[in-house]
Symmetry: none
Subunit: 534 residues, 2 copies
């Protein structure tokens, strides 16, 4: 029994989302994402365009083994080619054969597009739409008609734009989806056009499909719902071509928490944060930490006026309770922090910090920040500071010495080599490695040294590395701050190092990263922490 919703969410991450530059999802990736979308509880999952490429065809084939509990699978396609019968179009045959219950077909709405791009007569375009929808509906499919460039077409020639929708309705379309394909429209234009369509087609679902080229994709989708649209098409994290599609991670909470319209099964909204980070991880993109609702910075407060106000009243600087979307409010730890902040952090990391340990850790933080460290983006280094204050803590390794040699010759090119000597328990390990550069050589040597005793290091990847010079005046003799982001798959953490020597600073961040990543205490707690909560 499907849940009853006020607004249907139609997710097209797997089709329109993959149009984003830099995304390429394998068939396995797509199946994993589909499964998680179903758990969240969207109404429809658009899996791809089976008639356009074999990868999408394979996806639908393999989907037959996927047991979806909430969502209905949709396949995408185009209206029939000009001059042939719909039944003779191989692209539509592929759509019918893929087995998806919903077929979403797009066609032209704008007279400009019909003439200059499609190069058929306006009447032939209407016949193409009606024929296509009728073929699919006649075969028992639920047909959604995506009216491409609807709003541009409606602005240029409203009568023709509505005639296009009439054609789709005559063919038997269940939903008429109005697309702002170029993303150029503003909320009030969307609202007016949607109102007109809703009034004309009272028996059918009107949908909205927006793009973010004007920075208004979310507002446009919400304006459409306010005007009567009952299906919203979008993607997780707003992935999509150019500036992206409407972000369902911003739309779902707005619908439920602000417009009072149900779009997910009750209680499922709190799965949003985790899903957003899961999809970013599978797509191999760094999560956008500033994303509305689901960014790690979305409820983070940085010192001063805001933090003190938040203590007095939690809603001072947050528009919704972050827990409703699975996110958490976070005070950014910096030299401005007090004892209470650190105690909260210790709790978050499952550490039992007693007596003057927080005061000592705080002193270390203040001292470190004076030397150029910055802990606000390096929570793993903060966790290590707290852990090292625990009486029974034994670090997994200790540095005795490293040496890095690197050079460049006008004929021989560049080279780098590092040696490292560390103590693991009572054992002294001495390793050497080459690298593409000095930090890579050091990283490789450390992995080589730790590998035999801590095989977990092979799972640790360094996913980002940033360097900042702090006191410009001293130039290359200035203090350097290095931030490293690491991941072992489910977890992601950040560490920091600082010093006048860029390699010494890199070493400090690198050593913290491995110490945090291989620490068994942390591994025992892994399950308690959400994937991306660091």
């Amino acid at each position: 029994m499907k849940p009853v919703v006020d607004v249907e969410l139609y997710d097209t991450t797997l089709r329109d989302g993959t149009q984003r530059e830099g995304i390429s999802l394998s068939c396995d990736d797509k199946l994993r994402i589909a499964e998680r979308l179903d758990h969240l509880g969207v109404s429809f999952i658009e899996g791809g365009w089976p008639g356009s490429n074999p990868k999408d065809a394979e996806f639908f084939q393999r989907c037959r083994d996927l047991e979806l509990t909430q969502a209905v699978l949709a396949a995408f396609g185009a209206t029939r080619r000009a001059g042939i019968a719909a039944a003779d179009d191989p692209q539509l045959q592929a759509l019918l054969e893929c087995g998806a219950a919903v077929c979403t077909v797009f066609g032209k709405t704008s007279p400009l597009q019909v003439k200059s791009v499609l190069r058929v007569s306006p009447d032939e375009n209407l016949r193409m739409i009606e024929d296509t929808v009728a073929l699919l509906a006649g075969a028992g499919r639920r047909v959604f008609y995506d009216a491409e460039h609807f709003f541009d077409g409606y602005a240029a020639d409203p009568a023709y734009a509505l005639a296009v929708l009439d054609a789709a309705a005559r063919g038997g379309a269940e939903a008429l989806v109005l697309c702002d394909t170029n993303g150029g429209r503003l909320p009030w234009e969307i609202g007016e056009a949607v109102s007109a369509v809703v009034a004309r087609f009272s028996g059918r679902t009107v949908g909205i499909h927006t793009h973010d080229d004007s920075g208004c994709a979310v507002a446009n989708a919400l304006a459409a719902v306010r005007a009567g649209a009952r299906q919203v098409q979008g993607t997780i994290n707003g992935y999509g071509e150019r500036c992206g599609n409407a972000d369902l991670c911003a739309i779902a909470p707005a619908l439920e928490l602000k417009l009072g319209l149900r779009c997910l099964p009750q209680g499922h909204l709190s799965g949003l944060f985790e899903l957003a980070h899961f999809v970013a991880e599978v797509a191999n993109l760094p999560p956008d930490e500033h994303r509305p609702y689901v960014g790690r910075s979305a409820f983070a407060h940085k010192g001063g006026v805001h933090v003190s106000a938040m203590r007095r009243h939690p809603d001072s600087y947050q528009h919704v309770d972050p827990e409703l979307v699975g996110n958490t409010s976070r005070v950014v730890v910096s030299e401005l922090s007090g004892r209470a902040n650190l105690l909260a952090k210790a709790e978050q990391y499952g550490l039992n910090v007693r007596g003057d340990a927080p005061a000592r850790a705080l002193a270390t933080i203040k001292d470190g920040e004076a030397r150029g460290l910055s802990f606000e983006a390096a929570e793993a280094s903060v966790a290590l500071l707290l852990r090292r204050e625990q009486p029974d803590y034994v670090p997994p390794f200790r540095l005795i010495e490293y040496r890095v040699m690197t050079g460049q010759h006008d004929r021989l090119g560049a080279w780098a080599e590092a040696t490292i000597k560390i103590a693991v328990g009572s054992e002294i390990i001495h390793a050497v490695a080459e690298g593409n550069g000095p930090v890579h050589a050091l990283d490789s040597a450390l992995r080589k040294a730790l590998g035999p005793t801590h095989p977990v290091v092979t799972r640790i990847r360094l996913v980002d590395y940033r360097v900042r010079i702090l006191d410009g005046q001293s130039a290359t003799a200035a203090t350097t701050r290095v931030l490293i982001d690491s991941s072992d798959g489910p977890r992601r953490w950040s560490t920091v190092g600082a010093g006048t020597d860029i390699l010494a600073a890199s070493w400090a961040a690198l050593a913290d990263s491995f110490e945090f990543g291989i620490d068994p205490v942390e591994e025992a707690h892994a399950g308690e922490h959400r994937a991306a909560s660091w």
Copy 2:
């Protein structure tokens, strides 16, 4: 003579923008950004909160030497503390002393905030607002009143929210700026409230200040303008606390190209792309390539249907002409515009570039960008590329070899040493130096080697050094980009290097910096370049 605009853009990148987690701008950074904002032509530049920290106070001190041609400088502050006279509040004294022509003060609007956070009576809050505005206006300042949490306050208690604005107006505020501080409001709520305020305060400028927590910051600002607001506060790239502020890079084009309202001097909108990337570089943040209008992917088309349609009709899949904001469509790669850009650059540097030299330099740039270089914030490296294409150009030195050794020992600490072998004319020079770190050692060795033949190097200081990893997936083996800012006093220039080896990349940027700094042709032109124009 200031240009007449329909809507004033009030940039707060240097104040609210720096609240973004991970941003920390030096005073030099802020001055460089202020100069570029002025070139773009925003109406106001908010530089900081002089009463809150010494770094902001220093900025206003140094701003006195900055000749702004378009923009007016604004300083930020709070209403007076409860229970004292406005004239006795040191924070307001700092505001008066900083010398900015505009003082923007914020105060509470929402009864919830007044009671639970400020902990004063509603009437005392009104007096605090009126007193503060009156003190500043009485001292000859233009006063803008930022009504914090205005829309939440208006929803909870419209009479009190309007009474707050009345108090600011009585005090003599020129502009009443309505803030959606928590970013939770939706466009239609903003539009209704702004309409009410505009109707009540017909003689004054009504401004809008929005945040992106609901993904609607841009739409909210535009809805406010549509309802009569005539000042928009925002930041470049939407930087700001949590999910960020309204992005002026999306708002300015919407105002000019879609609402037909002038907000920048004629022709300046096309500087937007460059400014957005410049600010990202200075802030040491990777530019968001999917940002509306100014992202590198904003007009990029990925294969298939879209590309073929774009060939038939350029507006098929773009909402505005990208050149209007200085961006380019990436399907139609224009060799011609590239060449014209380079010729303009050559002119700027006083270089006489003939024949196919620009084409060769362009090829070198494209090749370099494919390898990870980025020339947008490194104009000195671009100038060198052009110079090297001149038939009579002789570089001041040539690298034969360098070697850098560095290490760290648990008892002996860290050390670094570099040797360098260069050719100056027919002479081979071999020098060695120690340093605080490997880049400093390399820098010191190069200075030692160049000193005898080019004593000017003692005047060259490296004032900033930034490193970015480009392809996170490869972590420490990834491509590294190094940007170095240098100065010899009157001039300041930026150079770039890239490669998998951080020291080799640093070397390339360092060598360009010295080559540019000691070149006699450039010195002859020094007077023509302003300090921070690179």
